[in-house]
Amino acid sequence: MTTTHQPAVVVAGLRKSYGETSVLDGVDLTVTEGTIFALLGPNGAGKTTIVRILSTLIRADSGDAEVAGHDVAEDQDGVRSSIGVTGQFSAVDELLTGRENLQLMADLNHLGRAAGRARVDELLDRFDLAEAAGKPASTYSGGMRRRLDLAMTLIGSPRVIFLDEPTTGLDPRARRQMWDDIRNLAAGGVTILLTTQYLDEADELADRIAVLDHGRIVAEGTPDELKRRTPGGHIRLRLADPQALRAAAALFPGATADEERLTLRVSGNGDIPSLRLVLAQLDDARIAVQDISIHSADLDDVFFAVTGQTTLGQEAA
C-alpha cells in the first residue's frame, strides 16, 4: 500500500443534470491527501451537487469519482466508511441531547461501549460542548449546533471530510471558531473538501481553491496563484477638491479618477515600497491627500475576473 500523498479525491468529467437543466458540466478535480480544498462559487453553481455525489447521496449522470480509493458508484459502502459529511442543513437530532447525539453516532460506527463513551467525552471536550452535553440540541445556539454537527461527523475518525458551507448563518465569533476547528482537523492529517460562497473563508482556510460557476470549474490554484493571476491590486487616494484630483491624476499616468467621489485609483500591487513611492510623489507635488487605502488583489477580484460577477452569494439559487 502506498501512503504518501495519494489523492484523496479524484473527479473526472463529472456531469449531472436535472431534466433539461445541467447542474454539473464536466468537472475535474483532484484533492491531495491531508489538504484543505475549497470549492468556491455562488448559490446554484453546483457545489452542493458535487458534495452529494461524492458522499454517495446522489449518482452522477456520467464521469468518474473516487474517494479514498473507492469508486463512488461501485463501492458506496467503502466510500461511506471513509468519509464524514457535514451538510448545509443541521443534521443533529433536535430531541436528543448533545451527548445522546454523539452516542448515537458512536453506536452506528460500532465503536463498542467503552471506546464509544471515551470518544464521545473526548469530542464533547474538544468542541467545547461538555457543559451543554445534557441539554437537548434544540436549545443550542447556531454555533453550538454546528460544532455538534461536526463532532458527530468526526466520531468514526473519517479520512475525508466534506463540509458543505460550514459557516453559513454563523455569527462572526462562531465562524472564527469553526475555522480554527477546520484547521485543526487538517493539521491532524484529515483531507477536507469544503464548499463556500465566501471568498475570505476560502482564502483563510484552503490550500487550493477551485472556482465553480454554472457547473464548471473556471479557475483553480492556490489562493496566491489565483491572486497573482488577477490584476486588481491598487492604491486608492481621496482628495480634497477636483483641482487636487486633476493634479494627482497627472502624476500617475494610467490611474483612474472618479470625479464625483474625488478618488483616484492607482494601479500597483499595493505593497509598502509602491505605497512609499506614491506618497513621495504626492509630497513633491505638494498635493494634500485626505485619505489613502491599499487594496491587494483579493479573491473578489479573482472571482470578478473569471466569472464577470462582482459579488458572490447575491445570485439566487
Binding site: 447521496l57 466508511s81 451538510g87 442543513f89 443534521a91 430531541l95
Partner: protein, 267 residues
C-alpha cells in the same frame, strides 16, 4: 461482525433512538390517544344509552343499554387507537426525512434497512402502549372482558399484527409526504374507518352502499375478531380475513416504503 449482526445492531440503535424521542416528546402520543378516549366517552355516555338498545340481546348479553354498548364499542375504539397512533409514525418518519439527519444516516456505512426498522419497532411499542392506556380507560368505565388466557394472547397478537400493518402503511405515507404537515394528515382517514364498519354500530343497520363498503374493508373483520376474543361474540371467518388483510397491508406497505426510501432524495 457479520452483515446480519450489523443489521441487528444498527436497527437496535435506531430503535433506542426512536424510543428515546417518544419519551422526550410524550405530548405527541398523549395528543394522539386523546381522540379515541374522547370518542369512547362521547359514544358511551352521550349516545350509549340509545345505541345500546339497538344492539339486540346477542351483544347486550344481559347488560343494560349503556353497559352493553361499552362492551360493544371498546374493540372498535381500540383499533381506532391504533389508527390514531400511526399518525405519529407518519409524523416522525416525515420529520426525519425532511430534516438534515437522514442525509447523515445515508452517508454512513450502516445497514440500509435500520432507519425504517427502528421507526417501525418504536412505533409498535408506542401503539401497543396507547392501546393499553385506552383499554385501561374502558375498564375504568366498566368494560369487563370475558376473555380467557388464550383469548387474551390471541387478542394481543391480533392487535400487534394490525398495528404492524398500519405502521408500515403510515411509514410509507410519511415517506411519500413532502412535508411534516402533509404526513400528519394523510393517515387520518384510517381513524374514520371504524365508523364505516362495525366499530360503532351493527353493519346490518347501515344503508346499502355503505354496508357493502363496511363489509369489505379491513377494520370490520378485525373489529369482529377482536370483539369475539374479548367479549365472546361469534368470530366465524372474520379471523382469517382479518389476518389476511393485515399481512397484505403490511407486505404491500413494506414494499412501497422500501421503494420510497431507496428512491426518494431529500431536499
Amino acid at each position: 461482525m457479520s452483515t446480519l449482526a450489523y443489521t441487528v445492531s444498527d436497527s437496535a440503535t435506531m430503535f433506542r433512538r426512536n424510543v428515546r424521542r417518544l419519551r422526550r416528546y410524550p405530548s405527541l402520543t398523549l395528543l394522539l390517544i386523546g381522540m379515541p378516549i374522547v370518542f369512547l366517552l362521547l359514544f358511551v355516555y352521550v349516545f350509549g344509552g340509545q345505541l345500546g338498545h339497538g344492539l339486540g340481546n346477542q351483544y347486550l348479553a344481559g347488560h343494560s343499554g349503556r353497559a352493553g354498548y361499552l362492551n360493544y364499542v371498546t374493540p372498535g375504539i381500540l383499533l381506532m387507537t391504533v389508527a390514531a397512533a400511526v399518525q405519529g409514525t407518519a409524523i416522525v418518519v416525515a420529520m426525519d426525512m425532511t430534516g438534515g439527519i437522514i442525509d447523515r444516516f445515508r452517508t454512513m456505512a450502516i445497514a440500509r434497512s435500520a432507519v425504517l426498522t427502528g421507526h417501525v419497532l418504536a412505533s409498535l411499542i408506542q401503539a401497543l402502549l396507547s392501546v393499553g392506556i385506552v383499554l385501561g380507560v374502558a375498564v375504568a368505565l366498566g368494560f369487563r372482558p370475558e376473555a380467557g388466557v388464550l383469548d387474551w394472547l390471541a387478542a394481543i397478537g391480533l392487535v400487534t399484527l394490525f398495528a404492524f400493518a398500519l405502521i408500515w402503511l403510515a411509514t410509507a405515507l410519511g415517506l411519500a409526504a413532502k412535508s411534516v404537515e402533509t404526513a400528519s394528515n394523510t393517515p387520518m382517514f384510517l381513524t374514520f374507518l371504524p365508523f364505516l364498519g362495525s366499530g360503532f354500530v351493527l353493519v346490518a343497520s347501515l344503508p346499502a352502499g355503505l354496508r357493502q363498503f363496511a363489509h369489505y374493508q379491513p377494520f370490520t373483520p378485525t373489529t369482529e375478531t377482536l370483539r369475539g376474543l374479548l367479549t365472546g361474540t361469534p368470530i366465524g371467518t372474520n379471523a382469517i380475513v382479518a389476518v389476511a388483510w393485515c399481512v397484505a397491508i403490511a407486505l404491500g406497505s413494506y414494499l412501497w416504503a422500501r421503494h420510497l426510501y431507496a428512491t426518494r432524495r431529500s431536499a
